[in-house]
Every structure is written in C-alpha cells, then in structure tokens.
Amino acid sequence: MTKISLSRRLLMGASLSVGLGLLLYVTDDTKGGLKLYSNKVQVLLHSAYHLFPSSALGPGAKEVNIAAYLSFVLQDKRIMKEDRERFLQGALWLEESAFEMYDKSFLNLTLMQKEELMQSIAAQRWGENFIYTSLGYIFEALLSAPAYGSNINEIGWKWLDHNPGFPQPMSQDETDYAV
C-alpha cells in the first residue's frame, strides 16, 4: 500500500519512461506478465496520441501530459478493478488487431495505418468501448485540476475558455480526500 502511494506521487512529476518503469513495479505482481503489461501501457499512450493529436486546432494528449494522467488512472483505487482491467484488455486487443492487420505493433504503424485500424475497431463493440473510454480519460487529463499531473499550466482550460470554479485542489494530497 505504501509503495503504491509513494510511487503515485513520484509518477506525477516523472518522465514518461521512468514513470512507466515505476508503474510496472507497483501494479503488476505477476512476474511473467511484466513485459506484456508495459506494452499495454505504451499502446494506451500511443493510441491516446492518435485519438487526440497535437495540431493547430489545440493541444493534444501529449501536451496535456496524458502519460502522467494514465499512470494515475491505472492506480486509482476508486476505479473498479473490472473497469481498469477492461481498459487494459482493450489495449491488448488493439495491439493484437495491429498484428492481424499489419503484422506489426501499433506503436510502429504509420499515421494512416493507425487511423485505418481505429476505424476498423470502432465498428466493433469492444473497440468502440475502448475508444470511448480512452477519450474519456483524455478529457479528464485535459480538463481536470493540474494537481492531477496533467492539464499542464491549465492548457486545456485556456484552450476551451473554461472556468473551472474555485477552490481547486492545489496538490496531489488534496485529491486523495483521505480522512
């Protein structure tokens, strides 16, 4: 329990590679699954970059620091275990679909191939659910309090001219609501 809490805080300010390494350490207790798990997280990240790309229209998943936010989500005990596992399962199936269609990892697809693949899975129930869930977390990263580690410098709020109300949590501890 202590390790998770400590790691979560470290993650919020950690670089992507370091963060994912910690994530492996604290969340997966089946040694044999470590490599696969890491791959799932990479797939989650790269699918988020595709679904919400950096462009002239506004910040993308990368700019809002989706990596830190997903690290938080994957350890958030308030999310039901089944929901978290379903999300990770979606990443696994996306990766499997990439191999089926192009014989390579999602991470190594061209932009056009990624889009074709997304269109393909969106026509399937699991795929639509996966994209819907991913976009939901992207929106959370984009529009939540910066204390969660994303929405850096309120980039999402500024982009959409959103008034978030006050007071806002100013630290990671204040989002824990532990009493």
Binding site: H50, L51, F52, P53, S55, L57, G58, D76, R78, I79, M80, K81, E82, E115, M118, A122, E128, I131, Y132, L135, G136, F139, E140, L142, L143, S144, A145, Y148, G156, W157, W159, L160, D161, H162, N163, P164, G165, F166, P167, Q168, P169, E174, T175, Y177, V179
Partner: protein, 562 residues
C-alpha cells in the same frame, strides 16, 4: 465494546432527515448519538474537482463493495441488474450531512392540495394514491422554521399556486442573479406566465459561523466550500455539536436494529476496522435515505418481526416514489447576440433562480377533475467540463482527432446551454418498491436492497405537458435547438417513500408522528414517510417534517413515556 455513554436518542444517518432531530434534541438537552456510515468532511475538504467529486466514488461507496440491484421491465419481465454491472449509481453522498452536502438547493414547499392528492385530483387507475394524515397547515410552521434555521433565500411573489405563508417574506434575500434571469422574465411577461424567483437553501451573506455564497458557479453535485449551502452538516449538526449533547460517529455502518418485543434495544454497527458494536438508546430514529432505510428495517427481521422490523403489515419498502418528469435545453449562440450580451451570458457564478408553477394543477377537459401538473426549474447546463466534453464525442458516430477538437471548441466557446428540469408527482404503484436481494451482499455480508422501478404512464403525460410549456419559454428567449426528454427512469437523488405514514396500521408503517405503529421507540424521519411527494423537490419537506418529528420525540421524552 459497549459505549459507556447512555443516549436518549440514536439516529441512523446524518442527512436532511437526521439533522433537524439531532439539532432539536441536543438543544433540548437530550443526549444524541448520530451513526453515519460515511466519513466526516468539512468545507475545507471540498474542491471544485470534477474528477474526485463527480467522476469517482469518493463520497459514495464503490459499487463493487456496496451496491443495489435495480429491477426494470424488459419485454414484460422484471429483470434485476446489479449496479456494479450497470454503473447506475443510487448512492447520493455517504458522508456526514448525507446528500444534502451535494444538493443544488432548489427549495419549494408542497402546496395544500398536495396533502390531499386522492381527494382533490382525478383518479388514476392502478395508482396507490392516498391523502396524507396531516394537512399543510400542520407542516407550515416547520417550513417556516427551515427558512430561518437551515437558511433559505428568496423573494415571495404572488402567483396562482403560492402556498399560504405565516411570514410575508424569506428571512434572507435572493442570491445574486445572472443576466439571463431578466431575459427569462421578459419572455414570461410576453407569454403572460408568472416567473417565480426560486427559493434556494443558500445564504447570500454570512450568518453566524457560515459564510455567504462565493458564486463559484458550481453548486449541485459539489460540497460547499463556503458553508453557504444549507446542508444538514453545516446548518444543523454543527450547532448540535456545540451543545455538547451530540456525538457524531462517522464510518459507523448500522447493519441491523435489534429489538425485544415491541422495542428496539440497540443499533448494531460495524466500525472502520470491522469491529461490531451495539449502540443503546431510549429512542431510535432511522434516516438513512429512503432505499437504505427500508433495507435496514428489512434486514432487522427477528422472531417478533419475521419479515422485517416494523413490517408485520407488509408495508416496509412499498410505494417507493421519486420525482417524475424530465429535462430539456436550448442553446444560445454567441453569433446571435451582441458582444455585450455575449459577455453577460458568459458570466459564471450568479444563479438563474427562476421557476414556473403556472401549471401546478391542470384543468381537465369537459368537466373532468383537475390533474396534478408540476414545477419547472430553469438553470444553466452544469459547468462540469468533462461531462460537457463527452457530449461532443458523437456526431452520429464516435469521432476523434481534429474532428473531435472542432466539436469541442464549438461546444465550449461558441454557445451556452440553458436547461430546465421538470418535477411532477411520481404516482405510487405496486411496481415501485424495495426488497432484499437474495444473492448479493455488501462488503459486510449484509443483503443489498433490490429496487423495482416501475412507473405509471400518467407521469409521462404530465411531464410532457410541462416540457412543452418550458420549451415555449426557451424559444421565446431566442434559444436554438430547443428540445426535451421525458423519462420514466427514477432520478436517484430524489427518492422517498417505502415507510408511509398514515392512521391505519394495516396500510402504513408509521403513524402521523412518523413513529412505527408496531415498534414503540422507533421513528423514521427521512423522506421514507411520504405517501406522495408533491410536484417539487423533496428536501424542504423532509427538513420540515424532521423538525416536526423532533418535536414529537421531545414531547415523548419529556413525558417519560419511554
């Protein structure tokens, strides 16, 4: 472990049905124990944090640990679905102060005819409508008491269905109002409708230890960080604690009430560490919110009450009611407005504070008896950003990439959405009730509540009549894309019934003082007592009735009847 202190009254729950009892009994010098299953937060703990407050189970239980089973009609069969599977969450705030922490605070009194629904209105086939055993006049002093003690702000205007008042005006002036309120008034004037300033359980200025509203623009669903919102915790429990006569025990889940003969002897509760305790008192008051109140009584069966405590009439859990109606909206596009009006419309913070009760009663055609209509409250779309963003995800089909970004900027920066909520009577029937699920238990091993959610078609028809009227106003104001949706799905946060009060022990659980007909020292003071709910949100009535119940308990204790 046994508590060393002997209590006069033990209250299960700490929300709107509990606060007035704790407040009045503690003020009167009686020793009160409040057992609340949730944690204890204060205003300093509340942030406008959509993730923590609205998108996670922070102030409500995780559904895989504590849930309900919802029975809905599917192809002619009642099919139960656990909420851990559906995600349809019927918890409303399991913390000290209960769901009153998270209410919007739209406060309306019931009308005199609401107490005589069976006698005054057209018969509805298949409905279990009854008159209340008390009249509006008997509750009026308590409505007034809530205005001053809980703190209700507003302004009285005369209209067709203004309820009789013992005071001319609210004790607190209305909270600051948004510019759109005057646009609304103008449209209503043109339509010859009477716009009513909506009373709010929100203080416009500091009173005692409570600050006035800070106009953050987020109210419903959020705990109040200023103390202006009249939650049970802020308005009543704090004052009860100050007497030194009240103890609030958080994280104390009451799993059953133990009784001997016709008296409750202890509330059996589990603490955070899983230890079981017995709380003893002279009088027990259950106010755990309607579904959970019925569940607790049903789970407290014993040899004297084999189908549930106070349930030898078989009425516990029956005739659950919600608020029927629906919602609607219209969009104001900035391109349709002057730059000055656009800036006014963009302002976040002040309240709309407008409602219509023009059609609270509706004339029948050709000499038919009148029918109950309802209340329409007007407000802005909730500002929660993630929820609003998710509405942009579908354009016929799921969209992403730059197409999604264009939709987001359109939704957020080109318009503001004005909405309305309709409150009609939920007609009580045999198809809406609480029982215990035979298979699913919570994390303590206690059977969870199963809720059947059948509704009466009548309610949809009345809701649609009001929705059509509300749409007329939005169109007159210049809104585009005006639409509405009337549904038979129950709003989880507006629940009542299950332990009707009445004069006949065969058809009701509680007497007119909300004391069990069958168990002499057991009271129920949340919304469970309501046989019908009026065409308004319930909270003011729950507060008022709980003050009335408190008076009955004080009287009983003072006469040493217990």
């Amino acid at each position: 472990m046994r508590l060393t202190m002997q209590y006069d009254v033990c209250i299960v729950g700490s929300g709107a049905g509990a606060g007035p009892v704790a407040y009045e009994l503690a003020q009167a010098g009686y020793k009160v124990l409040v057992l609340e299953k949730g944690a204890w937060y204060e205003k300093e703990d509340f942030f406008k944090d959509e993730i923590g407050v609205c998108r996670r189970s922070t102030f409500t239980p995780k559904l895989d640990e504590e849930q309900h089973v919802i029975e809905d009609l599917e192809e002619g069969e009642w099919v139960g679905t656990p909420t851990s599977e559906s995600g349809w969450d019927f918890w409303n705030g399991n913390i000290v102060g209960g769901s009153s922490n998270f209410m919007s605070g739209y406060f309306h009194r019931m009308k005199p005819n609401d107490f005589r629904l069976k006698s005054e209105f057209k018969h509805i086939e298949g409905a279990n409508v009854v008159d209340w055993p008390i009249s509006y006049d008997e509750l009026e002093p308590y409505y007034t008491k809530v205005e001053s003690i809980v703190g209700i702000s507003g302004h009285v205007v005369d209209h067709s269905f203004l309820e009789p008042r013992s005071t001319q005006e609210f004790p607190y002036p209305s909270t600051q109002e948004h510019a759109i309120s005057s646009w609304f008034d103008k449209a209503c004037q043109n339509l010859k409708f009477t716009a009513i300033p909506t009373p709010r359980a929100i203080l416009p200025h500091a009173v005692g230890d409570r600050n006035g509203c800070e106009y953050a623009g987020y109210c419903g669903s959020y705990g109040c960080s200023s103390g202006a919102k009249g939650s049970s915790r802020e308005a009543l429990l704090h004052k009860a604690l100050k007497t030194g006569n009240c103890v609030i025990m958080p994280k104390a889940f009451v799993r059953r009430l133990n009784s001997i003969d016709d008296k409750v002897v202890s509330a059996e509760y589990v603490d955070e560490a899983g230890k079981v305790h017995q709380a003893e008192a002279k009088i027990f008051v259950v106010a755990a919110q309607a579904i959970e109140t019925s569940r607790l009584l049903l789970n407290s069966a014993n040899d004297d009450f084999p189908t549930g405590l106070a349930n030898n009439s078989g009425q516990v859990g029956k005739n659950m009611i919600f608020s029927s109606g629906g919602v609607g909206s219209g969009k104001f596009y900035f391109e349709d407005l002057s730059s000055e009006d656009t800036q006014k419309l963009k302002t976040v913070g002040p309240f709309v504070n407008r409602s219509l009760q023009e059609w609270y009663e509706i004339e029948g055609s050709e000499g038919d008896a009148i029918e109950k209509g309802g209340t329409i409250d007007f407000l802005f779309e909730h500002p929660n950003a993630v929820s609003r963003a998710k509405r942009a995800m579908y354009d016929g089909e799921l969209v992403w990439g730059d197409a999604l970004k264009k939709r987001l900027t359109h939704h957020f920066t080109q318009r503001r959405v004005f909405t309305f909520e309709i409150f009609c009577d939920w007609t009580p029937t045999d198809d809406c009730f609480v029982s215990l699920d035979e298979n699913i238990k919570d994390k303590w091993g206690v059977p969870v509540a199963k809720l059947r959610i059948g509704y009466h078609e009548h309610d949809l028809r009345m809701g649609q009549i009001l929705a059509d009227k509300a749409e007329t106003v939005l169109k007159k104001m210049g809104a585009r894309e005006v639409n509405s949706s009337i549904s038979g799905a129950p709003p989880q946060n507006l629940q009542a019934g299950g332990c009707r009060f009445g004069d006949d022990p065969n058809t009701s659980v509680l007497n007119r003082d909300c004391r069990s007909h069958e168990v002499k020292n057991l009271y129920v003071s949340d919304g469970s007592f309501m046989p019908t709910g009026g065409s308004v949100p319930f909270t003011w009535t729950i507060y008022a009735n709980a003050f009335r119940v408190a008076d009955a308990i004080v009287k009983e204790l003072s006469q040493e009847n217990v």
